[in-house]
Structure formats: structure tokens, C-alpha cells
Subunit: 133 residues, 2 copies
């Protein structure tokens, strides 16, 4: 009775992979990467563009991304108002291709998914054994 379990892939909780299923970071990580795609951006620019993100969450997320080596924080060149810029590191840039794949998937299949969801909800609202009329 060893069953077929052994034939399946194993997900050891200690395996680093389990930390990167596909959920790359926080709620905003992907959007930040996308925003930084074509050049460094200042904190305020990111914040305004990602609105309604809060300064707290943006700062937290950028710190976490800095820790992971995805983003680099550097003083803005030629402006002495103390401003800083955030810039994608080479490692951060490698995420772009994965993100693009995911966006491609969404472009192609998000409609199907949403349609399936609507159909399902409709069926639940009007169950087969409890007809409305």
C-alpha cells in the first residue's frame, strides 16, 4: 500500500522553492518592478503613480526589495533636495521576463477565468434543486 504518492513531486517546506511558488512578493512588488522598467524613479513619483498605495507600504516594499537585491537606492543625480531614486538591479531585471509571461497568460486567459467564475456564481445563485420558479 505504498500508493502513488512517491511518484509525485515533493514539496519540502524547508526547500527554498516553496518560498517562490509564483507569488513574488507583496501586493505591489510586481507593479513596482514594472514602474522601474524604463529607468530609475523617485519615491514620490512611484507613490503618486501607484496610488492608492500608502507611503508606509511603498517604503516597506522597497526596503524588502532592496533586501532581496531586486532594487537599489541611490541619491538622485544633480538635485540637492535630498531626493533619492530607486533603480532595478540586474537581478530585479530578470524578473521582467517572468512577469511578462504572466501578463501574457492573463491577457490570453483572464477572460476565460472570469467567465468561468461568473458561470459558477450564477449556478450557485440559482441551484439546480431549488429553481426560482
Amino acid at each position: 500500500m505504498t500508493e502513488t504518492v512517491a511518484a509525485l513531486p515533493t514539496f519540502d517546506p524547508a526547500c527554498p522553492m516553496s518560498a517562490f511558488p509564483i507569488q513574488i512578493g507583496g501586493k505591489w512588488t510586481v507593479m513596482i518592478v514594472l514602474c522601474l522598467d524604463d529607468g530609475p524613479r523617485r519615491f514620490g513619483v512611484l507613490r503618486r503613480h501607484l496610488r492608492p498605495i500608502s507611503t508606509k507600504v511603498l517604503a516597506e516594499t522597497l526596503t524588502a526589495m532592496g533586501r532581496d537585491g531586486l532594487v537599489r537606492r541611490c541619491p538622485v543625480e544633480g538635485a540637492d533636495d535630498g531626493g533619492v531614486e530607486y533603480e532595478l538591479t540586474p537581478l530585479g531585471r530578470t524578473l521582467l521576463t517572468v512577469i511578462e509571461q504572466a501578463r501574457e497568460w492573463a491577457r490570453n486567459h483572464a477572460g476565460d477565468l472570469l467567465r468561468a467564475r461568473a458561470t459558477y456564481d450564477e449556478a450557485v445563485a440559482a441551484p439546480p434543486h431549488a429553481p426560482s420558479a
Copy 2:
């Protein structure tokens, strides 16, 4: 002073894309898809293999995936113990390529990320302005 904000991509909260940044589903969704890759599996087999997942969370996740049209629930053929099987739908199968891309990324870069993280943590533990000795 219109700034460059308008030049960046827009993330309308109402846009369906914002629901699929890259975080495909719950904590276990990707693992379930992987488990179902080479054929339908019974609830109990999934549960045992995904341990330490709980029956509740597995049932919830499978329901959600069914709602999204990623998975189909069907009575197991030839067994009359009331058992059921879960099977990937064609839509669910389309996720496999995305997941494979993400795993490929992790295989190639997870080490870098973890190393960056360790370096960062080390630097925080021994800050430049507060040397331990």
C-alpha cells in the same frame, strides 16, 4: 509640471490584471496544479501529498479553483466508495507553462536573492556606524 507620470503604465484597481499580478491563487494553488499535472488525483491523495495542508484549506482551494475553471471535480471511475477525483481543465493546464517559467527563474536566481538577503541582514546586524568591536 505634468511630470512623467502619464508615461508610466497605469494600474487601474478595477482592471482585471490587478487581480493577476503573478500571485496566481492561494498558498497551495501552484502546488496543486503541479500535483495534477500527470493525471487526476483523489482528494485524499492530494491531501497526503501536500501535507501539512489541512482538509479545510485543500477543500477551499479546490473549490476556488473549480470556480475559476482551473479544475474539474468528477466521481472516480470504477470505485463506489463515493470517492471523487480532481482533474486539471484545459484552462488549468495553461498555467503549467507560466509556472514552469517561474520555477525556471527560481532555479536560476533564487540563490542570488537569498545571498543578497543574507548580505543585507548581516550588514544590518553589524551597521557601519556601530562596529561591534
